[in-house]
């Protein structure tokens, strides 16, 4: 019994810590102070993770490319992000002469603020959600939509052709894949019947024979998760969808003209967007903070959430080291001719799953439909495409 309550306390350690700290204040201030502490925790933890991830990514990419990666600052190069941080803080902040100063200044702030807002609704552990909103998922996507504007602001205000091209590519790409991102999440909402993220996690944290009810373990959930992952990679401008900032084509895309700490803010915003979108994917399809097996439920829930997020980050890095960049027309064709129709079909399959009731019949029917659609759309249709020599098309 004693060990049991120890694990319960470990699971709720951050909540207990917050309540203990808030306890020092008069009762009137307590709710507000609790929220402020939650915000401070988010604002500290995710940039910390960002610092770790930069080392992790450079090391990982180094290994994939058969080199060692950063190894000079601190043991195994672990202090590299601190050196990078000091460097970007002390660098001169250059604003181009013809740049639109106000918009140029605002763009990185808008990006970082909107990305941070998204974390407010993510359940990072049992009871660990800053705002338990009735329309949490909608809030998350609303904030994601606002980041597009900051990308445009950055690209346009720099008065640089590379920046503007990067921004145009980024916005076109984000609009196309945002549709898929939303529609693939809708299937989860259809099954759960709620837009509240804690409720979605609660619906998945049940076990039969020791295995969890994660949505990824259903035919529609697996298809939805794959579509979500593709769209998430494109939304965060990660390779193989990194056209907006492809260094070999556009210097650095929309943030070419940013230096010093503003550049660091863009860098931070991009990684934070990766964390938040992985966090949402974890919440929607991978069971959020729930344990992968029922005998592992004693492990603290926040461990599982952050573990799953870091696993997704690892997959992001792995893909970046492995896949070549797409071309713009390939990117658009892929979004509108394959991913979007497949996601729409997945919505129908989800509805079918919902109304066929329990039993093995729905497993067979849904799997057959999805596999058949993949074979027809992804394989047979491709056969009619003639992949000849690479041709280059230029804008008229």
């Amino acid at each position: 019994m004693a060990t049991n309550s120890f694990f319960v306390n470990l699971d709720q350690i951050f909540i207990l810590l917050r309540n203990w700290l808030v306890g020092f204040l008069p009762a009137v201030l307590r709710p507000a102070a609790g929220v402020v502490l939650g915000v401070i925790a988010i604002v500290c933890v995710f940039p910390g993770l960002f610092a770790l991830t930069t080392v992790f990514e450079r090391k990982g990419l180094g290994r994939i490319q058969n080199r060692i990666g950063p190894n000079r600052v601190g043991p195994y190069g672990l202090l590299q992000p601190i050196a990078d941080g000091i460097k970007s803080l002390t660098k001169e902040d250059i604003v181009p002469l013809s740049a639109n100063a106000a918009v140029h200044f605002l763009a990185p702030m808008v990006l970082v603020v909107t990305v941070f807002m998204g974390f407010a609704v993510l359940p990072m552990g049992r009871n660990m959600v800053l705002v338990d909103m009735d329309a949490g998922l909608l809030f998350f996507f609303a904030m994601g939509a606002a980041t597009e504007l900051s990308v445009f602001m950055a690209g346009w205000s720099s008065r640089n052709k590379y920046s503007l091209l990067g921004a145009m590519r980024a916005v076109a790409q984000m609009i196309s894949y945002e549709v898929v991102l939303l529609l693939s999440s809708v299937s989860v909402v259809m099954i759960t019947g709620s837009l509240s993220l804690p409720k979605i996690v609660a619906a998945q944290s049940q076990y039969t024979n020791g295995f969890p009810h994660w949505y990824i373990f259903t035919p529609w959930g697996l298809a939805g998760f794959i579509m979500y992952a593709i769209a998430a990679t494109a939304e965060t401008n990660r390779s193989p969808f990194d056209l907006p900032e492809g260094e070999s084509e556009l210097v650095a895309g929309y943030h070419t003209e940013y230096s010093g700490f503003k550049f660091a803010l863009f860098f931070l915003g991009e990684y934070l967007a990766m964390f938040s979108i992985s966090g949402l994917g974890t919440t929607l399809f991978l069971g959020g903070w729930s344990a992968p097996f029922s005998f592992l439920t004693w492990v603290p829930s926040w461990f599982w959430f952050f573990g799953k997020v870091m696993l997704s980050i690892f997959v992001f890095i792995w893909m970046r080291g492995t896949l070549p960049r797409l071309r713009q027309d390939q990117l658009m064709n892929f979004a509108w001719k394959f991913v979007l129709p497949f996601t729409l079909l997945n919505l129908l399959v989800t509805a079918l799953w919902r109304f066929m009731g329990e039993g093995w019949a729905r497993w067979v029917v849904c799997t057959v439909i999805l596999v058949a659609a993949y074979v027809v759309m992804g394989r047979l249709e491709m056969r009619s495409e003639h992949f000849g020599r690479r041709s280059y098309r230029y804008a008229e």
Binding site: D134, A135, L138, A142, A145, M153
Partner: protein
């Protein structure tokens, strides 16, 4: 009326005024975005979560981006030499005043027509969803049909040019 309301109203009005008065088209588009954000916050202040988030998602995420794209893809991002203000601005003022009068009359009339409720109704996203596919399913379907027609129209317009190029 609380302080929050006045702050948000000031933000929205400032955004709207800036959108009309600024000289640079892209600045105007960004100012419109501020006005949209102010409206969304007003909805949220009234506890209308769905309307507020939908406002951000649709107006900031899609409409503002569309405006900006339209400005960039046409030549509108350069400053015209003979000023951006139309010579028939007073006509626009008359039309705007007329629209405002009709809307204001409709709002004021509805206050008189519908008796004041003491209890603030709580409308959840769930309720809105039920209403949309229940009572208002026909308008929803008509709007969906209209949007599909518009999408197909856009695709046809885009395709036409490609065929001519061949």
């Amino acid at each position: 009326m609380s302080l929050t309301f006045y702050l948000l109203a000031a933000l929205t009005l400032a955004g709207g005024l800036a959108a009309v008065l600024l000289k640079h088209l892209v600045h105007c588009a960004l100012a419109v975005t501020v006005a949209f954000a102010g409206l969304a916050l007003l909805f949220l202040q009234l506890d209308a979560q769905f309307a507020g988030f939908a406002q951000i998602l649709v107006y900031i995420g899609a409409v503002a981006i569309l405006i900006v794209f339209a400005i960039l893809l046409t030549r509108g991002s350069d400053l015209p030499k003979d000023g951006v203000f139309s010579k028939t601005w007073y006509l626009g003022l008359v039309i705007a005043a007329g629209v405002f009068a009709v809307l204001g009359w409709a709002v004021l009339a509805s206050v008189r027509a519908i008796p004041q409720q003491d209890v603030v109704p709580t409308v959840t996203v769930h309720d809105i969803g039920i209403a949309l596919v229940g009572r208002y399913v026909l308008p929803l379907e008509i709007v969906a049909l209209l949007l599909t027609a518009a999408t197909i129209g856009a695709v046809i317009v885009a395709m036409h040019e490609k065929e001519r190029a061949k």
